[in-house]
Symmetry: C2
Amino acid sequence: MPAYTPPLDDYRFILHEVLKVHEETAIEGYDELTEDMTGQILEEAGKIARDVLAPLNATGDDQGCRLENGVVHTPAGFRDAWNLLVEGGWPSMECDPEFGGQGVPSVLNMTVGLTQSSANMAFMMYSGLTHGAYSAIHTHGTDEQKRMYLPKLVSGEWTGTMNLTEPQCGTDLGLVRTKAEPAADGSWKVTGQKIFISSGEHDLAANIIHLVLARTPGAAEGTRGLSLFIVPKYLVGADGGLGERNALSCGKVEEKMGIHGNATCVMNYDGASGWMVGEEGKGLRAMFTMMNEARLLVGMQGLSQASAAYRAAAAYAKDRLQGRSVTGAAEPDKPADPLIVHADVRRLLLDQKAFVEGGIGFLCWVTMLLDAEKRHTDPKMREKAGDMVALLTPVIKGFLTEEGFRLTVNAQQIFGGHGYIEETGMSQFVRDARIAMIYEGTTGVQALDLVGRKLALRGGQPIMTFFEYVKGYIRDNEDDLALAKDFLNPLKQASKDLQQAAMFFMQAGMKNPNAALAGSVDFLHLFGHVCMGLAWARMAKAAHRAIQEGHGDRAFYEAKIVTGRYYMRRVLPETGLRLARIETGADPVMDLPADAF
Amino acid sequence: MPAYTPPLDDYRFILHEVLKVHEETAIEGYDELTEDMTGQILEEAGKIARDVLAPLNATGDDQGCRLENGVVHTPAGFRDAWNLLVEGGWPSMECDPEFGGQGVPSVLNMTVGLTQSSANMAFMMYSGLTHGAYSAIHTHGTDEQKRMYLPKLVSGEWTGTMNLTEPQCGTDLGLVRTKAEPAADGSWKVTGQKIFISSGEHDLAANIIHLVLARTPGAAEGTRGLSLFIVPKYLVGADGGLGERNALSCGKVEEKMGIHGNATCVMNYDGASGWMVGEEGKGLRAMFTMMNEARLLVGMQGLSQASAAYRAAAAYAKDRLQGRSVTGAAEPDKPADPLIVHADVRRLLLDQKAFVEGGIGFLCWVTMLLDAEKRHTDPKMREKAGDMVALLTPVIKGFLTEEGFRLTVNAQQIFGGHGYIEETGMSQFVRDARIAMIYEGTTGVQALDLVGRKLALRGGQPIMTFFEYVKGYIRDNEDDLALAKDFLNPLKQASKDLQQAAMFFMQAGMKNPNAALAGSVDFLHLFGHVCMGLAWARMAKAAHRAIQEGHGDRAFYEAKIVTGRYYMRRVLPETGLRLARIETGADPVMDLPADAF
């Protein structure tokens, strides 16, 4: 199994030299994010990831979750690890202090999450879903609901789930059939079957708080008839103690391609007691509070697997002796040179490295915007940041998971045949990463959200804000000639491609929405690359500055510049191809009759 | 599990309307390839694939192979299926009639193989490796060896393996440590450990003929010291009967990401009796007889999984109701429209369809060249065809497996969450397809062979032959205006990109070989796309002709043209991006110090 070493230097660089979170006084709580504070927390998180979570990753994959007599048993070691997390207060970091949380800004919590998910994605899902349930109740619940459920969701003594999918409905939630009927005491009786419920049933926590989307009697058809319900596994007394078992059960644990350590359950509700969260018929809105947050987390997961897989692949490439450098033996005393002498092995690794490091920059930037949306002192800035988060959430989700998967496959490739056998752990990274392109809305659904909804949001304000930001960044820095040539010019070109694509959608999409939707995933990738280019330009600038000022490890900063240059030269030009595809419009995609497929 | 329906119409179209094999009188044996004959054989092969092999695919994945007391048990049903293949004479189709084969041209055998491998890739590997062993002995063995081993390898009563890899050596065969020491009777004693041996031990056949690469005493270091040995599981008597068990055993069956139905074995040779094939020190040459053939077969495997996965995804997209068409409900009577109304679902499917159908055209064309190399009446044409096969083998292997995997993943994506659970079989297609990018030389190794060896072969004759062929094709057809606009012009551009890339390699690669190798995989993809563009141009021409002549099913031919146009417009422009990457040369890839990874 690959050992996991968290990239603490990269985190420090991004947080304190690129984003300079500690200098950001206008976002509440950022003043606490000193280099010392983030360093200590990330080092501690890194230790747990390396020593506790990573060694359990293969166990989880091997053993999976077993359903026996209605009880789901998680893999050996998961309970102890969960208790350790709860005792350390890790699940509560970002939560509201009123309910026992630590109120730490998201940007730090996300970095901790990336560290933990890199080490063991399936295990960390128990915590991720719990945070989603926390958010939905925190945003839409009554005071009583908050008092009743939040403290233990915050601490991690209880966990949470999201129940949307049914056999006949995945993306199309308008088809939900699960019913909720009013009971005399103001509660509801929930009946129906939900599938693909992550962390649906398990033995880690004393209670599981299910958030269930269901249809009330006489409600409208489609999504407007849906409401959201809290349906706990054990009923909760007024004193917060656990009461009787609710009428719900796990019918099956799915056999999946990966994330075996997380129990993906069929959940059956047989008149289970539930309590409505938010207003009747507004269930989807409440669910989307969880969903938007979950989408950022899933983007992070895609990045996390590529990150862990890259680290394993780089170590292997430096260790494994095979063949000789074409320019003469690099290590003539050994029977062969290490793999890393070979140009194509380096290409595979550089694709990964440039994505992983740029991806951390991209993800942390958007998470900082999320903090600004919630915590900025200036309401105008909150609004602007909110626009950007809304716009960039589907990009983070779609781009980081698609590229994350592709590059995890590349990391596996470095191992040759050894990557295909389970022993090395590379197959698990690939199998686990695969789900991130699917759940919380497939890539296609993200692209639809981006092109069909977010581009037109508030008269196109968010996308204009984005373009202004990129333009402003280029303008402010173009006097830096080294930066301009290698970074700003390619970024300018890529951003122009993105603008041209958006313009095409506006013109052609007016006449035929399919002219925009046919290119929507290409647009998502194009957008992702522009964001990565921006991240690399910012990172290169910070690295240049450090070298000029002569502080820190020069080799570290030079590596950033070289890696960034690789991205700008070899990866970013993909934007041109994406634009060309987008401009072919609807016909190539729509011309073929359905029965000719 | 997805049902499997072989694309008999596509085969007929490629063989008889595009390649017109039945009109090719200069290749020996092609006169027998009438539409009736190929149709009957492919229909029969398709039946077995659909009714016997496909239903066993999930069984193989589920049960895998078990090692118990030295015996490897294949999954339930595999023995019966193997016996059925042997009784039907399927393994012997392409083999030499002198040893019981049917002498059928490769082009038909490959199409049969594609059908069978689409239905059950892991199972068909037992046959594929056997054919490799047959070829090595047929080409390099003595008359006695041929008499002794070939008839039963041809019939499939015995199976074969290739033993190259050892723990310390994959690609770099110069590191092989397995030893062969001469015995008094002219045989050899083989000692060493081989790993990743596909079909290494199993219960399908009475004997297994291992071909083992080993080093003789005092032999040169590196690959020039290697010889190839026949090492049978059971010794074979002069009468052809089975004698005592040889000193070799299976030490372990590997747990792999996929192809669970095939036993991937650690093989231990403990002074096992072996017989040298070909000359001492020429083992690699003899092994490459198997290897080149195996590379075409592995390319076919990549295509086969994309083909099967596409068919399943297309069926699902027409059946699964989810969401509504943006241009108004397509099936207003139903609760939702089928997935196929959505532009992005169509894009995913068209990427697959265009690859799968174009890939069959590409693969069959190269296999026809292989037949021409072996069977053409004109020695000049044999040489020319041989050049093309040598050049295109790494392209077939690398491109069809990389794109095949990518598009199998796309097919899985159509299923949403249902694609991630094992029940639907989509995960298996992905996991099985993944190996094809690795074994018989990774994509990087194929690209090295292509750029480092094949481009310069005989003063660049093969690549010049290829460019002349493409140019000639365009010149001969440019009067056809419909074809010229939609197909020949894009092909011309793509071919120009390929030429420019080859030119760049010649110039920059002279000074620094890494300038060529850094772009070698990009070149392989670029080359693959040009071949696919050529295949689609030829297919479009045949379809146009059929429509003009008014024969057959017009919708079938129109679908070919629409699908081809999709390829030319949306996929082929990738060549420009590949060229741009290639022209960045060595620096972006070589600049970063090894310890900065």
